[in-house]
């Protein structure tokens, strides 16, 4: 088991390394570099050369990659092209905001979807089950911003319960922050809920069709106890997996939702920086998002290994 875990960790670190190369290469191999992006239409060859020299772009690519990654690991990620300020403090604050939003959404979505998924597994093909089916088709078809705007119209404009813009600042108390992020968090919950529910249901149902469950039925154990005590522990690995996939999906969904609610998070920063063509900020945001994504997938696999009792004892 320790070997399996070490193998998975090594693979994860390898993936992270390859991902960092890809992100770096994505901004390097492509025609048109940072210098031309800064100068835009009014560039002259001399000005481009001067900027390239001042940014160190005339060094070979592998040297720049090494120094970029080295600085990233040290937490010193350089300066924004747009306003020449250090990126690190802003990223740190925005990352905190994004994690808060995604955390609130996950704290609601994960328990709720597992609970509802279990209910659907206990009563398959019931009206409740069909409702979930229809809901899944709708939520995978509907863009995040549609859900976001419907929620704004209902809860912010018509009912006036929550603010429509998720303004947040450092001097707000926890409850004020929570109140500000209710609608964006709810949007994210709706985006991932149906998928997690269905996967939980499918995982439990597939275990319920095995022989030991039939045995438990024949012994006369009540159905809710069979599901909770016999089926769920065996369905844990796929459930953990789908939770992690959806948490990783939250990371991407957060970009659009932050723009809808004008929430000062990483996603908003990344989108703004793309339109300003502020490549260093985009690279950093991209790397942070990718780190979180790869990290979550790795944690899911590790938990999957840990939750499998067959792997717990050496043979």
């Amino acid at each position: 088991m320790a070997r399996l875990i070490l193998q998975r960790l090594a693979l994860g670190i390898l993936t992270l390394w390859v991902v960092s190369i890809l992100i770096f290469a994505g901004t390097e191999i492509l025609p048109g570099d940072v210098a031309t992006a800064i100068l835009g239409q009014s560039r002259t060859p001399e000005a481009v050369a001067a900027i390239r020299a001042s940014l160190g772009l005339n060094r070979p690519a592998y040297v720049r990659y090494a120094s970029w990654l080295g600085h990233f690991v040290e937490g010193d990620i350089g300066k924004s092209l747009a306003n020449d300020r250090d990126i690190a403090p802003e990223i740190r604050e925005r990352l905190g905001n994004t994690l808060f939003l995604a955390g609130v959404a996950a704290a609601v979505a994960v328990p709720l979807s597992i609970f509802l998924g279990l209910l659907a597994a206990i009563w398959p093909n019931s009206i409740f089950d069909r409702l979930i089916n229809a809901l899944t088709l709708t939520t995978i078809s509907v863009p995040e911003f549609f859900i976001g705007y419907v929620l704004i119209i209902v809860f912010a404009v018509q009912l006036d319960w929550f603010p429509s813009l998720a303004m947040i600042s450092a001097d707000m108390s926890f409850w004020e922050r929570l109140n500000a992020v209710v609608l964006p968090a709810l949007t994210l919950v709706m985006v991932v809920l149906a998928h997690m529910m269905r996967q939980t249901r499918a995982a439990v149902l597939s275990v319920l069709s095995s022989a030991f469950i039939e045995m438990a039925f024949l012994k006369g154990i009540p159905k809710w106890r069979i599901v909770l005590q016999h089926a769920v522990p065996n369905a844990l690995a796929p459930i953990i997996n789908v939770v992690a996939i959806n948490l990783a999906y939250l990371i991407v969904g957060v970009v659009v939702v932050e723009v809808v609610f004008v929430y000062p998070g990483m996603g908003q920063l990344m989108v703004d920086s793309v339109s300003k063509r502020d490549v260093p900020v985009v690279q950093t945001c991209g790397l942070v998002f990718a780190l979180a994504y790869v990290g979550l997938n790795m944690i899911a696999d590790l938990l999957g290994i840990l939750s499998n009792p067959r792997l717990r004892h050496p043979r």
Binding site: I140, S141, V142, P143, I153, I251, S275, F289
Partner: protein, 275 residues
């Protein structure tokens, strides 16, 4: 209900109706749209009326006309992306499956690495360097999305290349291209058609999201994601303007999904009942 010998459910019928209505709007937009897509015809965010069925947008342009022209832009670009993505994915995927060896190994590992980064994040990184012209958008999304097509084609292709008829073609001395196009492709079509529908939905939602973020199709072209963005401010006065294009996006995706579901059920029955 049966059409041409195939069972058609109510859902599938609704799906087909939605898809055809959208295609009709896309093809005949200049004929059926009451106004031009850039014409200013009245007050900003005027309410729906007899002249303007869906009201006016943030600049006073007719919402319905822009919706029809938007169908044209958004659907054609999404289709183009899907076709490019399939062209890349099919060629590389079947090459990996048929050629095997280090080609397969190299392509598969590259695809694994690209898929380890969320598509939206990777696309944003590339767009920050290349800008957001239509060819760049199509190329970027098609290249990133083709990783999924590659995975499917390789998986299906590997199953087919071990068949006797492929072996026969190879022994006959046929070239790699011939084997791919004449032996592997026809036998891989059913899963590929389903995947085409799903990839189209993905490309469509993706381009709409990018346009919504202001990084996709640029004005003055009408497109559904960009229309949501343009009209987003109306929401603060309780206006429904941004919901109309957003709902347009949702209905088409639901329609395509219904058709794909029907096709899947049809295909799974084809083995059992010999339909």
């Amino acid at each position: 209900m049966r059409i041409a010998g195939y069972r058609v459910s109510v859902g599938a019928l609704a799906g087909f109706a939605i898809v055809f209505a959208n295609l009709f709007a896309a093809v005949f937009a200049p004929v059926i749209a009451p106004y031009g897509q850039a014409d200013l015809v009245g007050d900003v965010w005027a309410a729906p009326s007899a002249q303007h069925w869906l009201g006016l947008d943030s600049l006073g342009r007719d919402m319905l006309s822009r919706l029809l022209f938007g169908a044209r832009t958004t659907i054609s670009i999404a289709l183009l992306i899907t076709i490019c993505s399939f062209a890349i994915g099919i060629v590389t995927g079947f090459t990996a499956a048929v050629a095997g060896g280090w080609i397969d190994m190299g392509l598969s590992r590259l695809v694994d690495a690209v898929m380890a980064i969320p598509t939206l994040i990777f696309a944003l990184i590339i767009l920050s360097v290349l800008g957001t012209s239509v060819p760049v958008l199509v190329g970027t999304i098609a290249a990133l999305d083709s990783t999924r097509v590659f995975r499917l084609c390789r998986a299906v292709g590997v199953d087919i290349t071990v068949m006797d008829y492929v072996e026969v073609a190879r022994l006959r001395g046929e070239k790699l291209w011939w084997v791919m196009l004449r032996e592997v492709l026809p036998n891989a079509l059913p899963p590929l058609i389903t995947e085409f529908g799903l990839r189209f939905c993905f490309a469509f939602l993706f381009i709409a999201s990018l346009s919504f973020l202001g990084l996709g199709i640029q004005p003055p072209l009408a497109d559904w994601g960009g229309m949501v963005r343009d009209n987003a401010q109306a929401i603060n006065f309780g206006g429904m303007a941004p919901l109309i294009p957003a709902a347009a996006i949702a209905q088409l995706t639901i329609g395509v999904n219904l058709v794909v579901d029907w096709f899947l059920s049809l295909h799974s029955r084809a083995h059992g009942e010999g339909a």
